[in-house]
Amino acid sequence: MEVGVAGQVPMVDYLVLDDGEPHLVANECASCGARFFDRRNACAKCFATQFTTVPIATEGTVRAFTIVAFAAPGVPTPFVAAVIDCDGTQVRANLTNIEPDPEHIRSGMDVRLTTYSLGEDSEGTTAVGFAFSPAV
């Protein structure tokens, strides 16, 4: 997906759109290497407070999944929620471009990062989300 960066905002701040191909980044503890996706106060593993930003592999394997058929009001269903092992870092995401059907999804399958538009706001800015789709 070719996207111009101007006029775009990532759905979450750990999705990077303006530095080469879209990818995720994590806050990596400078002391023990534990990785986190949220804003940090300190490391949950070793309590250190220094972090560096590291890129996350854009390909991975499905470690766990579910097909959500019943969700909160306003959440379109069905959708496939999953945990993807991206070269040792666990990532939470939806699976996309896949039939939401247990026949078509299995743990261990290879997937890769993809992005999609969440729509434009009143100022013409497009929010861009991410998901993983089967690696062909």
Binding site: Y14, R63, T66, F79
Partner: protein, 403 residues
């Protein structure tokens, strides 16, 4: 009063779980608390500490509300909230106070009004009304994450936990998870206090409404109303009581509460495994018993997928052997390690803060030989487990009195 290693459950009671439209949380808590006091043969005048939980209304001070209905004696109240482990946390709080010598008798109460509640855990943020995309929160998100970046609903989270087990060890299937639910619903037919006492065929379970694959509706815990309460005392105090009280008292051989230690990925998908394994390991050591000594287990089957992983986490089977263990029939009520003979959360119901005391009531009922039609013959030792996402895990090991 003196510090004591010896703590006993002297009285315990749960209300009927289900729909109680005419009773509020205080009514339900009072019914359980007065019942537990009667069962113990003591009154509020004896109780030196009260721990109480009502998760869905955690700031309301259910302990003091309860005191105002059943007895205001000026004792300290600890209102606790620890997700689905709230009841176990209340009990553990009362046990710690008694163990520390701060009180001879303590009471724990858990209550919830949940009948008709929908899906729990789903984000409550209204979608689509933002005029401009503006980042907020710890992920700098411009839109609600639930449904866009995985799922935050309980059935979906626990579904992934079951699938993850299959990914690690293999041997699982939708049908196997459904069979676990078939067992618990069959067990519930013998429990008059269960919210649902309906037997389901495997086909009915698998063919019911899918909530989050592989959990269909009957494979999910039942939202309902209910309360449970327990009165505990120390060993010295028990010695001064009647033979009848001493015979019915149940020994708390282990009382453990844990949280999840950091592991890779634990902030992405909750790790309900390690904290349960840690709690169980500590509990077996405290009690001086091994999993093979257990006559029955009440574990936190909030979803069929959860029950399976906890066979392994509680070390009821070999590591990775949960499917084989279940397939052997071990966890049915006539098996070697009966699990959830009450019907479990899927049919007995899951009024959140009551659950962690109600499962102890079930164990006590069997250890006292008072479980009627569903009595596990000659039960001497039982284990009760709960887990609250976030996470908190409570494990109690209970033993029949030798008196």
């Amino acid at each position: 009063m003196s510090a004591s290693d010896d703590v006993w459950i002297l009285g315990i009671r749960m209300t009927k779980f289900g729909k109680h439209p005419d009773l509020d949380t205080v009514d339900l808590a009072a019914e359980a608390a007065i019942g537990a006091l009667d069962d113990a043969g003591v009154t509020m005048a004896d109780v030196g500490v009260l721990a109480a939980g009502n998760l869905m209304n955690a700031s309301a001070g259910i302990g003091q509300q309860l005191q105002k209905q059943i007895g205001q004696t000026g004792i300290p109240v600890y209102n606790v909230a620890n997700a689905c482990a709230t009841g176990a946390t209340a009990l553990r709080t009362a046990i710690m106070a008694v163990k520390a010598g701060e009180a001879d008798y303590g009471m724990a109460v858990g209550v919830e009004k949940l009948a008709g509640a929908g899906l729990l855990g789903a984000g409550g943020v209204k979608r689509g009304d933002a005029k401009t995309w503006s980042p907020s929160g710890r992920y700098g998100a411009v839109a609600p994450i639930d449904g866009r970046i995985g799922t935050e609903t309980m059935p979906g989270v626990f579904a992934q936990i079951g699938i993850e087990y299959d990914h690690k060890y293999g041997g699982l299937s939708f049908e196997l998870f459904a069979r676990i639910s078939e067992k618990n619903h069959a067990h519930s037919t013998l429990n008059p206090l269960a919210a649902y006492q309906k037997k389901f065929t495997l086909e009915e379970i698998m063919g019911d409404v899918m909530i989050a694959y592989p959990n269909t509706r009957p494979m999910c815990s039942a939202n309902c109303d209910g309360a449970a309460a327990a009165v505990v005392c120390n060993g010295e105090t028990l010695k001064s009581l009647s033979l009848q009280q001493r015979r019915r008292a149940v020994k708390v051989s282990a009382s453990v509460l844990t949280t999840d230690p950091y592991e890779e990925g634990c902030q992405v998908l909750p790790n309900v495994n390690t904290l349960t394994r840690n709690a169980a390991g500590t509990a077996y050591e405290q009690a001086g018993v091994s999993p093979g000594d257990l006559d029955l287990v009440e574990l936190h089957d909030c979803f069929a997928t959860a029950e399976l992983v906890h066979y392994d986490n509680l070390m009821l089977c070999e590591e990775g052997g949960a499917a084989e263990f279940f397939n052997s029939g071990a966890t049915w009520r006539d098996g070697s390690t009966p699990v959830n003979v009450s019907g479990g959360l899927q049919s007995k119901g899951h009024p959140i803060a009551a659950t962690g005391i109600a499962n102890i009531w079930e164990i006590c009922h069997h250890l006292r030989g008072e479980a009627g039609d569903r009595q596990i013959a000659n039960a001497k030792i039982g284990l009760a487990h709960v887990i609250g996402l976030g996470s908190a895990c409570g494990v109690h090991i209970l033993e029949r009195s030798a008196a």
